[in-house]
Structure formats: C-alpha cells, structure tokens
C-alpha cells in the first residue's frame, strides 16, 4: 500500500443551482435593504452574506488535511474496469469532514464519504477504467464536497504518486481473430504433467495438488486416489510478435498495433489458462516456454510495455519448432 498524501491543490469552486438561487435571493435582499434603509433587512442581508463566507471557509477546510492511500490490484487490464482500494484519512484535529466525494478523475465517477470523524479514516473501493496499456500514473486524487450547505461544490486535488502497470486489453472469449497453427510435433509424452490425457491413477501422496484427486474413485475405494496426467508437449504455444515496425504513423496504425498486442495478450491468457506452455518472442525480448500464473504476469507485463522498435529483415523464430505458432505483425497477421 502506498501512501499518497502530498500537497493539496485547490480545484476551484462551482456554484450549484441551490447556491445560485441563494445568491440571487441575497442580492434581492440587499436591494430591498438599500432601497428601504431598513436595518432589519440589512441584518438579514449581512447574515446571508456571512453564511456564504462561512460556507466558503468551511468547504475549503473540508477538502483539506486529508491523506489518501490507494492499493492498486495486481492485475489491471486496459478498458476493463477495476476496483482500486483506498483509505481516506482525516488529519483534521478540530473538525470532522462531511459529504466528501472522492474520485481519480476530476469528472469521474466519485465515491461518497458522508462523514469522516476527526483523525478518522475510511476505506472503500473506487471503480477505475484505464483506456490504454502501459505504465499509468495515478497523479491526483480528487476530493470535492457540497459541504456545508450545498451552495458550492468545492474541489481540491491531493497529489498521488502511485503507478499502475496496465496490461493490454483482453478480448472477450471467442472474439479473437488470429488463431495459432496446430502443433507439428509428437503426441503426449508418457510422463506426469498437467495435460488432458490420463497417465495413471495412484494413491494420493503428501504434496500432491488436491485438485488432482479423483473423488469418485476415492469414494469407491475409501482411499484418496490421485490422477496423474500426461504432459502435453503438443500444448505449447509460441507467440511471435513482430514489433519491429518502426515508428507508427497515424492513428490507424497505432490502433492496429494496440489491437495486435491485445490479440497476443488474449491468446497468452487463454492458453495459459488451458495449461499450455506459452512463449513470447518479440524483437527486443524473449520469454521462454513456461506455464502458470508467473508466466502469465511476465507475458502480460512484457506486452504492457511493448513498444515498436526498428524494423528487421529476419523473421522471428520460436524456441520450439513443434509448438503451435501465433505470428502477429502489423502488415500482415499470419498463422504460419
């Protein structure tokens, strides 16, 4: 969790409809007082002006002396809303805070904190949507408030120094356009792994993954029976992403490039989810075959930070020629 408190920058003041009517009534009262010379009306006028002053001071104070801490989730995907956990703490010793609206964008969907006691704190989650992959700076936390009387909406932004690595957009299942080629190598090897085919059934031993327990057989025999599966050497995918395309000219090219990155990410996530060993090869990076969560994060991170580099003539080669291939390039997207 990173502490994201720093200096406060006022974000101005916006009058509400109620506030506008109140100001108009104040002006009306002022005119009535001036015209009649009635000091009782001057009293009302003074009180109305004073309440505007008090409102301004209170609202200014209300959005200050706050500490904002955010905890980004481990996996954040572009164009996919995620929940950002936050902790808002008041450093105020004199007054609590009321009616706080917290958001990460000035006009973004806010989160309401109706009351924050003196030196108190509250936790919550903000729904955030980041449109693009890559490193994303959460620079400011925006706090605004209608407090105290709803005449004005006063805002202040609190400096944040959080950074979120946004993974590429993952396309919904079935919408991916590029499909990998079928593997060209041998069938399954006769050894235990996480393939689809059954290798053998044996007694469950300590350290085995409980997910491998054959429950029906276990119930039948009264002993825990473990399923050993065959390793699927054919279940390997090599994603060859040719980012050697030089500088991207025009929005269309950039969008196409981003789309290809998302294709690669989607393929990687899908195949890793199915137990594949996946490799990512780009012009400037090679992540060898591996499977599991760590590989998924490594590939997504690499894709999140992938940038076009200088073009090169030679084609990208997979580490394992028998593995299924997914070639992605800007000019042509081929399943070789």
């Amino acid at each position: 969790m990173r502490t994201l408190r720093r200096r406060v920058v006022p974000e101005g003041i916006r009058i509400t409809k109620v506030g506008l009517w109140y100001v108009l009534l104040t002006v009306f009262t002022g005119i009535a007082a001036t015209n009649t010379g009635n000091n009782a009306l001057y009293m009302v006028f003074s009180m109305m002006l004073a309440s505007l002053v008090v409102s301004g001071i209170a609202s200014r104070h209300n959005v200050r002396a706050l500490e904002l801490e955010v905890e980004p989730p481990r996996e954040v995907y572009a164009k996919s809303p995620f929940h950002l956990r936050f902790r808002l703490r008041s450093r105020g010793v004199m007054l609590p805070r009321w009616f706080l609206l917290l958001s990460l964008e000035k006009r973004g969907q806010p989160m309401l904190v109706p009351y924050l006691p003196r030196r108190g704190s509250t936790r919550g989650e903000l729904e955030v949507l980041v449109p693009r992959r890559g490193r994303h700076q959460l620079e400011w936390g925006h706090v605004s408030s209608l407090f105290p009387f709803g005449f004005f909406r006063k805002g202040a932004r609190h400096r944040l120094e959080a950074e979120v690595l946004v993974f590429p957009e993952i396309f919904p299942s079935g919408t991916r356009r590029a499909e990998p080629t079928a593997p060209t190598g041998r069938g399954p090897a006769r050894r235990s792994a996480w393939g689809h085919d059954l290798h053998t059934l044996r007694e469950f031993r300590q350290g085995d993954d409980p997910r491998g327990i054959h429950w029906k057989q276990s119930a039948r025999t009264g002993e825990l029976v473990y399923i050993e599966r065959e390793v699927e050497t054919g279940h390997r995918l090599s994603i060859l992403f040719d980012n050697g395309v030089g500088p991207l000219v025009g929005e269309t090219a950039a969008e196409r490039f981003e789309s290809l990155v998302s294709e690669a990410a989607t393929a990687a996530v899908e195949h890793l989810g199915r137990g594949f060993h996946v490799e990512l090869v780009t012009r400037d990076r090679r992540l060898g075959f591996a499977t599991g969560q760590r590989q998924k994060l490594a590939i997504l991170e690499a894709l999140a930070l992938l940038e076009p580099v200088a073009p090169a003539a030679e084609p990208l080669q997979p580490s394992d020629s028998r593995a299924a291939l997914l070639r992605l390039a800007l000019e042509h997207e081929v399943a070789a």
Binding site: G30, T34, N39, W98, L112, P114, F149
Partner: protein
C-alpha cells in the same frame, strides 16, 4: 424515515417559525397566524403517521382559484385601511400551506422554501424589537440545518440510498458553530454595508416601541400631580456617566418655576444662547465631567447635575432661564448626548443671581399658610428659617403618591392642613410659598434625584427618579437647595438587586439595539470608518517592519486593548464598533503578515542562532565563522550541539554551496533552531 419525509419535516418547522413575529408587529392578525400554525401542525402529524396521500397538483390549483375571490375581497379591505401588507401576507401564508400539502417533486420543496423566505423577510422587515435578533438566529440555525440536510440527502439519494443512513451523520455541533460564526461575520458586514437611505426608524433610543409620552415635568407649566404620575413610571429617562468626580448627589435640574397660579407652576423666563458650543453657567472651577444620554422625553428641558458649571450640547441652540436651568429650542426625537462639566458642590449662582420679584410672588398663599410659616419659620436669619421649615416638613408630613388628583380647589391648603401627606411637588411647592411669606425669595426646581448604578459603572436615571425641590435665596450664599420631602420619599441612588440588575442589563441591551442596529446610519458609518482607518494606519505602521511572531504579539495586544476599550463604560457606541472592527482588523493583519512573511532561510536561521548564542554568553566576534561557531557552541553548550550543527550545516550548504533549503529542510531548520534555543535557555 425516508429522505422525502425528513425534507417535509424540516420545511414544515421552518414554515412554522417564519411568520411568528408578524402578529407582534401588528401586521398580521393572531387568528391568521393560529390558523396557519394549526394547518402546519396537522401537516406534521400526517408526516408523523407516514401519510402518503397528499394534495394533487390539480387540487392545489383548484384551491388557488378558490382563493382568488377572497384575495380580491382582502385587497379591497386592505385598500380601505391604507395598507396592502396584510392581504399579501395572507396570500403568502395560504400559498405556503397549500404548497407544503402538495409537495411532490424536488423543485416543489424549493418553491415552498421561497415562500417561507418571503414570510421570514416580511417578519424581519416589520420587526423592531430586540427579540427579533433571537428570532433571526434561530431561523438561520434552522435554515442552515435545512440546507445541510438537503445537500446530504441529495447526495445520498444520488448514490442510491433511500433512508436511515443520513441520520448517522452528526451535524448538530457544526451547525451551532456555523450559526455563531455566521453571526460573528455578519457584525462587521452589517457595520460596513453602505447605507444610502436614512434608517427606516429614526427615533432611536426609544426601545423600538416609540416611547413618546411627554415628560410633563419639564413642560412650560407643571401641575402638582405631574411628578406624582411620572414617579410611577420605570421607563428610563437618561443614562449618566461620571468621570473625575468623587461623591456626587445625583441631583439633576431640568427646570425652575417661579409663578404659581391655580395649582400650577409656570416656567421662569429664559434667555437664548447662541449655538456656539459649550455654554458657561457658573464661574466655579470644574472638577470632573458628566456625560449624559437623554431619552426623548417629549420635553425641552435638559436635565443637568446641580453642580454643572458648563454644558456642551454641540451646536444646538439653547435657552437658559433665571434659575440656571437649560432648555433646548427643539424637542429631541432621539437620544441626545451631551456633556456637563461639574464642580465639587452644587453651584449657588445662576445667571441672574439677584432674585426678581417673581421669587417673592405670594399668589396661592392663604392666611393659614402664612400663619404656619410664621409659627414654624420663626425669626432669625433666612438660612435658619429655611432649615426649620425644611425640617418641619420632613418630620411632620408623610410621603405618598396616592394624593394624585385629590387636591381639590386649593391643593396646597389641602395638603398642609387636611391630608398632611403628599409627594415631592406638594412638599416643595408648599415650602416655596411659606418661604416667600417669610420674605425669603424662593422658587421650585424640578428634575431627577438619584439613579441606579449599573455593573458597567454608569447610572440609569428612570422617570421614577423625577423629583421637585426648593431653591431659596440666602443673602451671602446665593441660591441654596432645600429638600422638604421626607427622606423616605426621595428617589435614592443605590445598588439594585438581581432583578434590578437584570432590568438594567435589558435596558442597556434595548438601548444599544435601538441605537446601533435599528437606527445605524451613514453618519455612524463615516465615524466608524474614519476611526477604523486611523486605527489601521497606526497598526500598519507597527506591523510593517515586524516579523510574524512580533505581529502576533502586537495583534494580541491590540485586541486586548480593543476588548478593554469596548468593555469600558466610557466607550461610546461608535467607539465600541470601531474598536471591535479594529480588533478584527488586527487579527486579520496578523494573519496576513504570517501568510506573507518571508520563508525561513538557512541564513536567517543561522543569524538567529548567532543571536541566541551571544545572548547565552558565547563570545562571538564578526570574524567568527560558522565552523568556529559550531565548535565553540559544542564546547560551551553540549546539549545544543547537535541542533546547532544542523543549522550551521544547512547554512553552509545554502550560503557557500548555493543550494536553497527545500520544505522538509525548512521544517528541520525550524525544529533545530527551536531545540537549540530550548537547550540554550535551559543551560544558561
């Protein structure tokens, strides 16, 4: 409770409060108010029962149309009586009630709030009594509560809440504090908002209710029952503040009367004094001053202490009569402030020291009265005769106010020989005639005797302090005061009980309210702003070169002075407002200085450290460099070595390295300097 229910309830409470002062101001009948309040009570009851059926828009429109004939009739009645305020208020009450019963949309609630504001404005605009300040405060509190809750409920509603949670947001303390803050901020605003019209109410100092009953005690002709009726009044006649004098009798002369005709006294002849400022009345040496605030009593007389040697009423034309009593040419219609320079004892010489024939006029003297004068006065010097007569009245007659109106054809004869009881005017009148029958020139003097000392040190003289006494001409002594009224019947000066104290405080508040709120005008503003500017110039001169800490100390001192001056009984109203504003300005100035003060640099911190070390006894010369200073400080004051070293280190970095300190380092500097100072103070 749903949000809608809470909003209805708040609006209903505000609506119930808004028109409350109207019947007291006599612009709305009590019947109307009670009907309106009953309607709103019914509304609140329906809210409490959770009613969901309210008037439809159509029904509200039908009611509005049905009201039209009555409105026309009401306007006709209003036109006949010369005021259209009542019909408009009736319409307002009707509209608010119907609107509340037909609230549906959010905007309807705000429409109802407008109607309530209109009623509130009408109530305020027609109010003059002090209690309206309390009404205003309560209304503001309730209105702020309404605005806050509406804002909160609006937000909660927007986030999908429907009820319940809002109740857990504590706002009461904040609302109370913000109401007080609003009132405090409103004071200078009220004082400074420009006035282009004369105040709506001009007769200030009259308690708002128009205390216009004439004080006949100072009219040209005084009947014997005049003072008796005045003595039963507790209304304030004037406020008096003494300065530089010791014990004083608190006897104020407002008029002298020489001719007695048919049971009434006629005023002594008077001379016009040109309007040229202070008027000298007697040659005695002044030893002090009395400042007097006279209520508009509907009379010309200007009550002055009997010790007065000079009076200053500004440039108002005055007349001074043969007895030295001062009169105005025009009756004051507002509180009149004037100053009297007073001698140590009552002055005995009036403008016309030698008594005229009127002082020996025997009209009204009967043979029986002459016989009584001879028997009681006897022979001897006039002073002895007068003293015997004075003593005779005090010992043989009884004081009463019941004699009012029972004087018969010859009230003095009746008093002396039949009733043998009366009030001060009977005693004084009888003694004047008895003195004259003995050949001693005498006249009747009326005014006030005594008063109540207030906690603020000044006196309140009430109409019940009205009194009459005798002035007799004694060869060699001039005009001397004799008071034949028994001591029990004389109005006395003295301290009051708790109730009296409360009454005095209330009087003071009413006076201040009338004077500095209801009738506050452009002249007051000019006076306030003028003295404020002078005060500000002085403060600015003092603050200009000062750093933050000194500024705060100076501001605190200025505020102390302001508070003291404002609380002083010697402070006039404008002065109090001025001092109050000056105090606020001082605080504001200090705040500004603190805000604008130069940020702490390492060089400034180093200079300050040098000063502290030198003050603690370290021998420093201009040639002592920072590192030498650090070494010497460490040797002599080991406890302060670490913070001093940090200051020196940052100074060296800034001064020789050209690197300005950043915010955390500035904070560190401040702390190091404070720690060094603390240790140095402790060690030395």
């Amino acid at each position: 409770m749903t949000f809608g229910t809470e909003k209805r309830r708040l609006l209903a409470l505000l609506a119930m409060l808004a028109p409350l002062p109207l019947p007291f101001n006599e612009v709305l009948g009590w019947g109307w108010l009670l009907g309106y309040e009953a309607g709103l009570l019914l509304y609140l009851l329906r809210i409490g029962r959770g009613a969901e059926q309210w008037l439809s828009i159509t029904a509200a429109n039908v009611l509005a149309i049905a009201y039209l004939p009555f409105l026309l009739f009401d306007l006709g009645v209003g036109r006949q009586s010369g005021t259209l305020v009542a019909p408009v208020l009736h319409l307002g009450l009707f509209a608010v009630t119907v609107k509340l019963f037909s609230l549906r949309r959010e905007r309807d609630k705000w429409h109802a709030a407008f109607g309530i504001f209109f009623l509130f404005l009408a109530a305020m605009a027609t109010s003059v009594h002090l209690s309206v300040a309390l009404y205003l405060l309560v209304f503001v509190l309730l209105a702020l509560l309404l605005f806050s809750r509406f804002a909160l409920l609006h937000l909660l509603g927007a986030f999908g809440h429907r009820g319940g949670e809002a109740l857990r947001v504590p706002l009461a303390a904040f609302l109370a504090a913000s109401t007080i803050a609003t009132a405090v901020v409103a004071v200078p605003l009220f004082a400074l908002l420009p006035r282009v019209q004369r105040p709506y109410i001009t007769g200030y100092g009259v308690g708002g209710a128009g205390q216009t009953s004439a004080m006949s005690g100072f009219s040209d002709e005084v009947t014997l029952d005049s003072i008796g009726s005045i003595r039963s009044s507790r209304q304030r006649a004037m406020r008096v503040e003494y300065e530089g004098t010791g014990a004083h009798e608190m006897r104020f002369k407002g008029g002298t009367y020489e001719r007695y005709r048919d049971g009434a006294w006629q005023k002594a002849p008077a001379w016009l004094e040109p309007p040229r400022g202070p008027v000298r009345l007697a040659p005695e040496q002044a030893v002090g001053e009395a400042r007097i605030w006279l209520e508009p009593l509907g009379a010309f007389g200007l009550p002055l202490p009997v010790e007065t040697v000079q009076v200053d009423v500004g440039r108002r034309p005055l007349t001074v009569d043969a007895g030295g009593a001062v009169r105005l040419r025009r009756r004051p219609d507002q509180v009149l402030q004037y100053t009297a320079e007073v001698a140590a004892s009552p002055v005995s010489v009036a403008r016309q020291p030698e008594p005229g024939s009127a002082a020996l006029d025997l009209t009204g003297l009967s043979p029986r009265m002459a016989t009584l004068a001879r028997e009681v006065g006897g022979n001897g010097p006039p002073a002895e005769q007068a003293a015997r007569l004075e003593r005779y009245f005090a010992e043989n007659y009884e004081y009463t106010l019941d004699l009012v109106g029972t004087g018969g054809a010859d009230p003095l004869e009746d008093f002396l020989f039949t009733q043998r009881r009366g009030h001060c005017e009977y005693f004084a009148s009888a003694m004047v005639l008895l003195l004259r029958s003995q050949g001693i020139p005498a006249r009747l003097a009326v005014g006030f005797l005594g008063g109540e000392r207030t906690p603020l040190g000044y006196y309140i003289v009430r109409q019940s302090n009205a009194h009459a006494w005798v002035e007799a001409w004694l060869p060699g002594d001039g005009w001397r005061i004799f008071d034949p009224t028994p001591p029990a019947g004389r109005p006395a000066a003295g301290e009051q009980g708790l109730l009296g104290l409360a009454e005095q405080l209330y009087d003071t508040m009413v006076f201040q309210w009338d004077r500095y709120v209801l009738t506050y005008d452009i002249d007051d503003q000019v006076a306030v702003v003028g003295s404020l500017l002078r005060g500000w110039r002085d403060l600015w001169e003092r603050f200009r070169q000062a750093d933050g800490a000194t500024a705060v100390a100076e501001a605190a001192e200025a505020v102390d002075i302001a508070t003291e001056a404002a609380a002083s009984p010697n402070a006039g109203g404008e002065a109090r407002i001025t001092w109050l504003l000056a105090g606020l300005a001082a605080l504001g100035g200090a705040w500004l200085v603190l805000r604008l003060r130069r940020p702490l640099t390492a060089t400034r911190a180093y200079d300050e450290l040098r000063r502290h070390l030198a003050r603690a006894g370290l021998a420093l010369t201009p040639a002592t460099g920072p590192l030498a200073l650090e070494r010497q400080a460490a040797r002599r004051f080991p406890a302060a070595a670490v913070p001093a070293a940090r200051v020196v280190q940052l100074y060296v970095a800034e001064s020789f390295g050209g690197r300005a300190v950043d915010d955390p380092e500035r904070h560190e500097l401040r702390e190091a300097l404070a720690a060094a100072r603390r240790e140095l103070r402790r060690t030395s």
